[in-house]
Amino acid sequence: MKNHSAVDIFLSFYAWCCAFILTSAVLTILGYLLFHGLSSLNLDLIFAHTPVMDALFLKKQVFGGLLPAITGTLALIFLSMLFALPVGIATGIFLSEFARSGTRKILGLMFDIMASLPSIVVGLFGFAVTIFLHQHFFKQLYPCLLISALCLAFLVIPYIIRSTQIALESLPPQVRLTGPALGATRTQNLWYVLIPMAAKEIIGGIILAIGRSAEDTAVIMLTGAVATAGVPNSIFSGYEALPFFIYYTAAEYANTSELMKAYGAALILLFICGGLYLFAYWIKRKVR
């Protein structure tokens, strides 16, 4: 469309600039990472010198490789989602469909706060509670995988709540009447009309959440991530995780080969997050 007014030209120029800035920033980062990290990507990076089969079947511990950190991160994602998804989605549905306006206001406020709560605060909370429990109740409880996963779940729940709620609430009002007019109960209307229609957006929120739980470092550095632990064999012990490894190595690599490992780890974390993202994206496509 031609002959736009000055406002239009300005708006589109502005938009183009912003898009350009962001794209080039991302490409710089990815390019830099790939340029430096790609050469370090090989089996040795993950398994070091341990035979692959031995490592995978936990016959031998891997040292100097990333396997422990990778498995630690995957375990974290899995566990935290296990806790966060049901609770988060249920709460989101409750807020948009069942809560009366007073309730909604109070809860909405709580979840706004919860969403903006810094992850380190959650981490500190988890840590302090663990210590408290350790001192007074469970001598055997230390900062560990389980604690980290619970804290991560706490961290991502508001994201899931929010996207579920927004997705449901932004459905046009007409759609809300149609189901009931045909005799749908609230639950039926939800299950057959509203949730399927909002599924895309809800899953969009879950993507963000998964990403967050995979990458968050602040929580885990207070609640159980350690420099060396090996492949996790219990949810009650310390563990290694990729983001922590990257943070740790970036601060104190001793030589180029260690730094290269950090680049490799950054790439792998990127691939895991990217892979999860693609997976969620694929589901999103299928649902529609």
Binding site: L177, T178, P180, A181, L182, G183, A184, Q188, Y192
Partner: protein, 236 residues
Amino acid sequence: MKKTKIKVQDLNFFYGPHHILNKINLDIPAGTITAVSGPSGQGKSSLLTALNRLWENIDGARATGRIWIDFGKGLEEISKKEYNVHHLRQKVGMVFQMPNPLPMSILKNMQFPLKLAGISKNMVPEKIETALQQAHLWEEVKDRLSSDAQMLSGGQLQRLCIARSLVIQPEVLLLDEPTASLDPASVEKIEQLLLELKSRCTIVMVSHYMDQIRRIADRNLLLSNGNLSLVTTKEQ
């Protein structure tokens, strides 16, 4: 005189402070077509939402008074809170003034009420075809059942909504200007359909067209200034 199907007593209807319907009393005999006409904005659509309690889902709307419907077990007071509103709405079909397809395929739109009623899968395709044929839409959509319902034309949408309300064979049908955006040929088909349905269905429809009312309605009610008055009756 036929049996009473719907009985309305002292129905008042409000939107916030606005009093829309004023102490309406009404008896609708079973198996008849009752037409409601009247100037725009007087509460015809609101009246329909009182009959299936849909107003409960509309912000700011409020109805008082009592309504009974006879679903074979004598007149039951459906306006009581305890009365199961979902069963009610399954037995009282409604077609809105503005067609409201659900944002899914044509087929899914048709399956929807069946799913709600928990009707078993194997009967479904026939039921759907029958309903679409009744609404005179089958020919136009049979090849594109899986495409998005929102892409239909205005008139097609109106017929889709009629078909959707028929698919679970309601006992009462509330129609809000069901032929407003249809061409004369379609209008005739729909009128034919309504006459056929009379035998097993009590119909309340809003219509502005005197010709149409004369052709098919048994009784014509006029709504104006919140009051309902009987204008003409066919039967005796």
